[in-house]
């Protein structure tokens, strides 16, 4: 019991440790941009015109007999995109980000109401949840710029627990999403997910369903050892995601790994999971630390430039003699 209490205390201390406001702001900018792009380009109007006989609602859309009508969808889409753009810019982010999320939720639910749950935008929506009540617009925002003139926040300025917990909660969601994806494979298929021909059959079926044979899918499926290796690497990658919670440097392996995974799925199966991949990159990269590093490089180059000795033209062949 004491161990449990101690573990809960440690988890709480980790979650509510101080954080850099710029990292939280970077999440608002990055995730807000992805949300705006997804909501602006989604096939919501097409879905609104779906015949009612094909409607297979999920969640709260079960209250309806058919997809929401086109007029409602257009209003929701305009409001959601405008709010997401404003939130990204940091204009009244505490109001505009929740508004974008709430208006966008039924639109994204529509994409999963045709028969299958589409996970593409789910991670994005869930990662945004801890940002909704957070002070995401305190820096790197138009509002902060207006309030402070053109002063830029320095590294370490304004570090506080209120900027830390939303970022760490988002990190838990990303780590959990991939870990649970791997766990579901273990629970439903067990080791056979790797040791059987599972991935070969998935890739053959996917290639056969495409208009032309998929060379990348066939390259893996035709080589059983390679299919086992790819399956093992996939499962290992997914199950090791919680490592990033205790060892943030694990992101150096996990982020390229997950980008490779999604790129491979896109090339071999034609399934585009870019919003999931982008969400992982945005959450796991420490943008504040990156900005500091780039700032140091800029400073270094500026110094180097200003201290560069004046070229000695006396030795130049074109110098007048």
């Amino acid at each position: 019991m004491r161990r449990l209490e101690a573990a809960a205390r440690r988890a709480g201390a980790w979650l509510f440790a101080p954080g850099d406001p710029r990292r939280l702001a970077a999440l608002r900018i990055g995730l807000g941009t992805v949300l705006a792009v997804r909501l602006a380009t989604g096939p919501y109007l097409e879905l609104a015109r779906q015949p009612a006989a094909l409607f297979r609602p999920i969640s709260f859309l079960r209250l309806l007999d058919a997809m929401p009508p086109p007029t409602v969808v257009v209003v929701l889409q305009v409001v959601a995109v405008a709010a997401a753009v404003l939130a990204t810019a940091g204009v009244a982010a505490r109001a505009t980000l929740p508004l974008a999320w709430v208006a966008g939720l039924p639109l994204v639910a529509m994409t999963s109401s045709i028969g299958k749950v589409v996970h593409n935008d789910v991670l994005l929506l869930l990662v945004l949840v801890p940002l909704l009540p957070a002070p995401t617009g305190d820096t790197w925002s138009l509002a902060a710029r207006r309030g402070r003139g053109s002063a830029r926040p320095r590294a370490g300025s304004g570090v506080s627990p209120r900027y830390g917990w939303p970022v760490r909660t988002a990190t838990v969601v990303v780590a959990g999403a991939y870990f649970f994806t791997g766990l579901a494979k273990l629970l439903h298929a067990g080791p056979a997910w790797v040791t059987s021909g599972n991935l070969r059959w998935v890739l053959y079926a996917s290639s056969d369903a495409q208009a032309a044979p998929n060379q990348a899918a066939l390259f893996v499926a035709d080589r059983p050892w390679l299919a086992h290796l790819v399956a093992l690497a996939t499962l290992a990658l997914e199950l090791s995601f919680p490592l990033v919670l205790v060892r943030p440097r694990a992101a150096w392996v996990l982020v390229p790994g997950v980008l490779g995974l999604h790129a491979g799925i896109w090339v071999a199966m034609g399934l585009n999971y870019w919003p999931m991949a982008a969400t992982v990159v945005l959450v796991l990269v420490d943008w504040a630390a990156l900005a500091d590093r780039l700032g140091r490089y800029n400073h270094f180059f500026r110094l180097k430039k200003s201290h560069r000795p004046t070229p000695d033209t006396s030795m130049s062949p074109s110098a007048p003699g």
């Binding site: 969640s59 994409t111 045709i114 028969g115 299958k116 649970f180 439903h188 053959y204 056969d208 044979p213």
Partner: protein, 136 residues
């Protein structure tokens, strides 16, 4: 926020779907080489069959795999409405549709013919016409 994290973890561990919370079942089952697939085809006035190209239809028609899987469990009127929706969509793209047939196909993807799988074994299950849906 603790409640959100708790529900997120419970859904993940137990594979519960409470969208947008999810059980993260992505490719979770181990596939077998023998796979059952349902296929919908349209039939023109000359009796020629053509698979419904769901990928070319609007996004609202892209749940065909799941709709076909659940077709047997639908009431006759619902089955007719589904067939009518598909036939109308094909007609709207210039196709001629006198009937929609639904086949139960069994494919062994491990049997390869060149770069493609061997042709599946096909069995007609339903025919939808203006008169209604007739089981085979």
């Amino acid at each position: 926020m603790a409640a959100f994290l708790a529900v997120f973890v419970v859904c993940g561990v137990f594979g519960l779907e409470a969208w947008p919370l999810t059980g993260w079942r992505l490719f979770a089952d181990a596939r077998q080489p023998v796979q059952v697939v349902w296929q919908a085809v349209t039939v023109d006035a000359a009796g020629h069959e053509a698979p419904v190209a769901f990928g070319d239809l609007p996004a609202g028609f892209h749940g065909n795999v799941q709709v076909l899987k659940g077709f047997a469990g639908l009431a006759a009127a619902e089955q007719a409405a589904v067939c009518r929706a598909w036939a109308d969509a094909v007609r709207a793209r210039g196709g001629q549709v006198e009937a929609v047939r639904i086949y139960h196909t069994v494919t062994d993807v491990s049997r390869r013919v060149g770069k493609r799988g061997a042709p599946p074994a096909r069995e007609l299950r339903w025919t939808c016409t203006e008169a209604g849906v007739a089981p085979a």
